[in-house]
Amino acid sequence: MSDLLLKLAEAVEFGKVDKNAPYPPQLKGQDGASELTQQALEEGALPSAILQDALIPAMDKVGQKFSENKIFVPQMLLAAKAMGAAMFHLKPFFQSGDIKSKGTFIMGTVKGDLHDIGKNLVTMMIEGSGWTVIDLGVDVPSTKFIETIKANPGAVVGMSALLTTTMTSMQDIVADVRKEFPDIKIIIGGAPITHDFCKQIHADFYSPDPQGAVKYLKELAA
């Protein structure tokens, strides 16, 4: 890998968004993910190589460190921001078909439920692993999920629920979605959810943490 890509990977891993960003202190004044991506493109690096060789491995590392409790969420969020800054420059190549997203992931907290801290973490990590994420927010009804799936054929759907009373809302939404899209993959999570519940409502996958979802999606895309 070129020096530049190595530097870019480092910038993402440590959450250096751009030159002006104050974080992390040890990279103060240096180029950030934004500048380094631009430079790489100018030097003729393939957009797909930038993504595959620098950005995604960097986010993998971040995910790994997070799993091992070696960093806190803010560091992960900064890395995600840096990744976002890099992606901004790569976007045109997605549209032109030069790079392919691994797929589209549609995520929401189910109807009646406002808890989104967990959901936000999940979307962030999935985004970091190379998926295009559409975040529907909280209190999301069936109709909105269905609409969005229609507009994004082949997408994978994720749902979060934190209340025992909205678990049944999750069950209804899964059923509604299944009726229209029998083969769609649905993954679910949230503190009260269990393996058993996942089976019971005929969702495809449950994970107690975002890492599990990332792994599952990786296998799906492979």
Partner: protein, 458 residues
């Protein structure tokens, strides 16, 4: 802030079961009057709430109250508080909530009349306003059903009124995850304080009109969430500690507006509030492990007046329904404290010391809850002229306490944690004491699509 002097300024006087301003309830509990009572919390198992299930919903609450009170009676309890924290549907359609209060209150009354067991219901409507994004804190139509529930629910038997209000949460949600302490100050000490003034005036009004007790608020969405996130190792414990300390300044506003306690359980501001204002409090620790894991299992009870389990679903354990089992656990915890109180100050103080020593140096969140440190921090929390100043002083004092414990070797923290200490100190010190200056400083860096300043009178 109204308070200029601590009501309790000696750590030895900050003790479980004893509050300078005890609260007497209609059925004869004297909270803070010399003994600790259990506060049982509970919720539905996995199910939805709608016309088809409403009978079943009601059955659950009747079963919970009946099972818990029967157990309390069998264990010769001196009295119990049942906290009814409503779920969305019960507040949106207040009649649902009111009916449940009535069902449970009838059972309380039965146990009172037949067996003399004093039981009170704490009614805690959930804050509906957060359903609108950005939230309309003052002008939302959703305030109507909320206050209908406060009003009619209290008349139906909800003798203690509480809420976990969410003013400022629009900002704190992301500030928490970014460990942005300035954001947390803005969320809690600017927006939160202003919303507390607004909402608690109204709650106290209802309480006074109906002859009920305005209990208190707790910074659940802020301080409790911070603790849960820290326990998951998502954010530093030292950051969660700061959030807890500054939450005092937010929650004390309820008391300024006329709340008289018992404070609510899940924000852990209680000990500070008790020292500053003298009102009785509710706390939760090890016996709330059904609701969340915690680093303050024992120390949380050092100076509490009610002892709570935070929440448990009405599901079946091997012994019986979970709320019944938790009632038993709370009662035994409380018995231990009460037997110590009965023996006298020496025994009670020793038990308190053991409860404190058990946890104090295992986590900074525990450290700041030792009664000695509570007094130290409380003094700072009332020293300044503005809410912001008070929160700053309190947080800085807590930082000092943490650093002292580290320096003395009594507490150990990994470098991941200690790295945050200077950052936090610098950030906190950079906050201006003046509200408008602070608002000016923060507005440019906040996502203003998330909140509406005018809904906070700004």
């Amino acid at each position: 802030m109204k308070y200029k002097k601590l009501v309790i300024d000696n750590p030895q006087d900050l003790l479980f079961g004893l509050a300078p301003k005890p609260v007497k309830t209609p059925r004869g509990l004297e909270i803070g009057g010399g003994q600790v009572y259990s506060e049982l919390n509970f919720t539905l198992p996995t199910m939805s709430i709608n016309e088809n299930t409403i009978k079943e919903v009601n059955r659950h609450y009747a079963e919970i109250a009946e099972g818990a009170l029967q157990r309390a009676l069998d264990l010769e309890s001196k009295g119990v508080v049942l906290e009814f924290e409503t779920l969305l549907e019960m507040t949106k359609t207040p009649q649902i909530g009111i009916d449940i209060v009535k069902i449970m209150n009838d059972i309380c009354e039965k146990y009172y009349q037949k067996h003399g067991l004093a039981c009170e219901i704490r009614l805690t409507p959930n804050d509906l306003r957060e359903f609108e994004r950005p939230a309309l804190q003052r002008t939302s139509k959703l305030l109507e059903p909320m206050f209908e529930l406060f009003d009619k629910g209290s008349l139906a038997g909800g003798d203690l009124l509480s809420i976990e209000s969410t003013g400022g949460k629009e900002v704190s949600d992301s500030a928490l995850m970014m460990c942005d302490i300035k954001g947390m100050f803005f969320a809690m000490i600017v927006l939160g304080v202003r919303d507390m003034q607004f909402i608690w005036k109204k709650i106290v009004e209802v309480a006074e009109k109906n002859g009920k007790i305005a209990g208190g608020d707790s910074a659940c969405g802020f301080a409790n969430t911070a603790m849960v996130l820290a326990e998951k190792k998502f954010i530093p414990r030292v950051f969660a500690t700061m959030v807890r300390v500054i939450s005092v300044v937010r929650s004390i506003v309820a008391v300024e507006e006329g709340a008289i306690g018992p404070e609510k359980d899940c924000g852990y501001e209680g000990p500070f509030l008790k020292a500053i204002t003298g009102i009785p409090i509710s706390m939760e620790g090890k016996t709330a492990a059904c609701a969340h894991l915690s680093p303050i299992g024992n120390i949380a009870s050092a100076c509490t007046d009610l002892w709570s389990n935070e929440s448990v679903q009405n599901i079946k354990l091997l012994s019986g329904m979970a709320p019944t089992a938790y009632m038993e656990q709370l009662e035994y915890d409380v018995r231990l404290m009460n037997v110590a109180l009965r023996e006298g100050k020496a025994s009670a103080s020793l038990l308190k010391r053991l409860l404190e020593q058990s946890d104090i140096y295992t986590d900074p969140q525990a450290l700041v809850l030792s009664t000695e440190n509570v007094i130290r921090i409380s003094k700072k929390l009332i020293q300044g002229d503005t809410y912001i100043e008070n929160a700053k002083n309190g947080a800085l004092e807590a930082l000092d306490i943490i650093e002292e414990a580290l320096a003395s070797g009594q507490m150990k923290l990994p470098e991941m944690e200690t790295a945050y200490l200077p950052l936090l100190r610098a950030d906190i010190e950079s906050i201006p004491a003046n509200e408008s200056e602070f608002v000016e400083m923060m507005l440019p860096v906040l996502d203003q699509s998330h909140f509406i300043l005018s809904e906070y009178g700004l």
